[in-house]
């Protein structure tokens, strides 16, 4: 009856072409959005990598020939030890030996010591990777002109030694070991604190709580808490963990005397509070994904609520809960603001040895290095960023693997 109101063959095709044009336009827009996203990611990665490798021009305050005839990399451990012993003052050698017996130190550590204490490297200038590759001749000419005594070398600032050395005031000898350990201690404490509490809260909200007004308010607030700026959690951590519970977080309650509340424990608890809402929400989603038919099956054979939760709901939700927690941890490991407020140390060369240690963390270290004027600090900051990114990617990959390995069984 209404047939005549529709366009006929030809005009239908015309209007269809119009519809396709609009569809293609939108498809193009979505695609360019994706391209922009990928480009910004590539730019970020390029920027980081660009800083971590490149030419460096340095001089020795004392020429190596003053100490040894052989090149440094051809000396064996015994010769290196001998070199240090004869050329360092006996007081300085004893101090090093007290920190860690010289004989137990690895060869690369000894080489670093020789460079730092005897030859006394002085970095004159560094160049980014792009400059080093594209303008290599200009750089060589510039160095020959400005620093005739300097040695020009293409180096990676990210080395195994960088990962295993503690903080140093000279960029050439600084490493991120203290910061990595600090970050690991912090997220370890955070997850020990937040995972049981978060899972417990999620179980209560999903399995026990009535759908009444108060519980809806609680739910809404948990969702809101997940969006609260991290600096606010920092203030909370400062007020509660650092100040109010200082006796606990400084360890003075347990007989630790050389510390205040600004410990890795305070930082871990603050990060735990920060990720708690995320963990609750993720755990709730995982519990929600366990089908009701499974609960009914358990109730149907005479199980109590607790038996149903413990034997069926939790085991089936666990992969989801763990995946969510790993993602929460990867958020915590990159957070900087709360750590500044809670009081991470910006210069510390002693590894954290327990929950009551002073500490620093990777983001803090990066932040501190990028604010320094000398360009070599920017290079090690870039290397530390790569370390942090690799740590994050590893965590996220673990989460994805965990999610894929446990296929949906129901």
């Amino acid at each position: 009856m209404n047939h005549s109101h529709y366009p006929k063959d030809d005009s239908f095709r015309v209007s269809l072409n119009g519809r396709y044009r609009i569809a293609n336009l939108w498809q193009g827009l979505f695609f360019s959005a994706l391209v922009i996203a990928i480009l910004s990611l590539v730019a970020l990665l390029y920027n980081v990598v660009d800083g971590a490798f490149g030419y460096v021009a340095y001089e020795y305050k004392h020429a190596p020939s003053e100490f040894t005839a052989k090149p440094l990399d051809q000396l064996n451990k015994q010769e290196l030890l001998e070199l240090l012993k004869t050329n360092l003052s006996s007081g300085a050698y004893k101090k090093l030996d007290n920190d860690k017996p010289m004989g137990e130190r690895s060869k690369s550590v000894l080489v670093t010591l020789v460079l730092e204490r005897l030859f006394q490297i002085d970095t004159k200038q560094t160049w980014s990777m792009t400059d080093s590759i594209l303008h290599s001749n200009d750089i060589k000419a510039e160095v020959a002109d400005k620093y005739p005594k300097a040695i020009l070398e293409f180096r990676s600032w990210l080395t195994p030694v960088f990962l295993t050395t503690p903080m140093s005031s000279k960029a050439e000898f600084a490493g991120v070991r203290t910061a990595i350990l600090g970050s690991l201690w912090m997220v370890g404490i955070a997850i020990l604190f937040a995972l049981p509490i978060g899972t417990g809260a999620a179980i209560y909200l999903q399995e026990y709580a009535d759908k009444n007004f108060i519980n809806r308010i609680i739910q809404t607030n948990i969702n809101n808490l997940a969006g609260v700026p991290s600096i606010v959690y920092g203030m909370l951590g400062l007020a509660i963990f650092v100040r109010t519970f200082e006796g606990f977080t400084s360890g003075s309650m347990f007989g630790v005397t050389d510390s205040n509340g600004r410990t890795v424990l305070s930082a871990g608890l603050t990060m735990g509070t920060l990720v708690l809402p995320l963990i609750i929400i993720n755990a709730q989603e995982a519990i929600k994904a366990v089908p009701d038919s499974l609960r009914q099956a358990a109730f149907g054979v005479g199980a109590t609520r607790w038996q149903t939760v413990w034997h069926h709901v939790l085991p089936n939700a666990l992969p989801g809960i763990l995946t969510g927690s790993i993602l929460a941890v990867s958020r915590a490991i990159g957070e900087t603001a709360p750590l500044i407020v809670v009081g991470a140390s910006t210069f510390i060369s002693v590894d954290p040895s327990g929950p009551f240690s002073k500490f620093t963390a990777l983001p803090i270290q990066i932040y501190q290095w990028t604010t320094r004027a000398q360009s070599e600090f920017h290079s090690i900051a870039a290397s530390a960023i790569i370390v942090l990114l690799i740590l994050l990617l590893t965590l996220n990959a673990t989460a994805v693997l965990l999610r894929n390995r446990v296929q949906r069984k129901y």
């Binding site: 038919s293 499974l294 099956a297 109730f299 149907g300 054979v301 005479g302 038996q307 069926h312 069984k409």
Partner: protein, 261 residues
């Protein structure tokens, strides 16, 4: 004379089931005979499943649901204050519409219910007995440690029946147990019900009137009340033969002869 008196497994007295202020099921008075199959039939949305779930207090999980009236199991009201719903479900087992085995091994599917209910006997024996009871033993005896999800839909449903009889209930409720299965699996479930009723009282909800006619001894016909309240009730309850051949109520006749809706 005593022998002619039918033994009653469970009966409802003036039973109403509410969701909030809405009476989903109203005024049900039926007596379910022991070791018989009783079918509940009726059009969609008339409260068949709601009524069935009232028998083992599964409706307790629906917020705002409550009942008035009584359901009496051996003279004891299942909804009186001193009765624990977990105990009710232990005595009145349930098989659901979609097979829902636990994501565990076949063996554990049977043993779990027994374990949590404090079963002290020989577990291997119980598992074998229950699987034999559900006509599944021969098919699974060599793969008891395998996941229950490796079984076919029909086998899974029989596993669910085995899981239910493992806790040795007095009554088994079945909520459209064959509606998700193919005709051959359906037939096996129906045959199984005939065997099970020698030991258990069975109440089954079904959409399939031929199935009701084939398997049940008694049939309860449910229908929405005529007053427009959207509330379901049992309009006729008697021997299945009678419901299908000589119903008292005109609406029952229309429904079973396919003239309804």
């Amino acid at each position: 004379m005593q022998n002619n008196q039918p033994e009653i497994a469970i009966e409802t007295k003036n039973l109403f089931i509410f969701y909030g202020s809405f009476a989903a099921v109203s005024e049900v008075n039926i007596k379910i005979e022991k070791q018989k199959v009783t079918a509940i039939i009726g059009p969609s949305g008339c409260g068949k499943s709601t009524l069935l779930r009232a028998f083992n207090r599964m409706n307790d999980f629906v917020p705002s649901s409550y009942v008035t009236g009584e359901i009496l199991l051996q003279g004891q009201n299942l909804y009186s204050k001193n009765i624990d719903p977990v105990e009710v479900r232990r005595k009145i087992g349930m098989v659901f519409q979609k097979p829902n085995p636990f994501p565990k091994s076949i063996y554990e599917n049977i043993s779990w219910g027994a374990k949590i209910n404090g079963f002290k006997g020989n577990m291997d024996e119980l598992v074998e007995q229950s699987l034999r009871g559900a006509a599944l033993w021969d098919e699974v005896k060599d793969k008891l440690k395998k996941s229950a999800y490796e079984l076919s839909g029909g086998q899974q449903q029989r596993l669910c029946i085995a899981r239910t009889i493992a806790i040795q209930p007095e009554i088994i409720l079945m909520d459209e147990p064959a509606s998700a299965l193919d005709p051959i699996s359906t037939l096996r479930i129906e045959e199984l019900m005939q065997e099970l009723k020698q030991n258990y009282t069975i109440i089954i909800v079904t959409h399939n009137m031929q199935q009701a006619a084939r398997v049940s001894d008694y049939t309860a016909m449910m229908m929405l009340e005529k007053d427009g309240s959207r509330s379901g009730t049992v309009i006729e309850f008697s021997e299945t033969k009678r419901i299908f051949t000589n119903p008292k109520d005109k609406r029952t006749e229309d429904y079973v002869t396919g003239r309804f809706g």
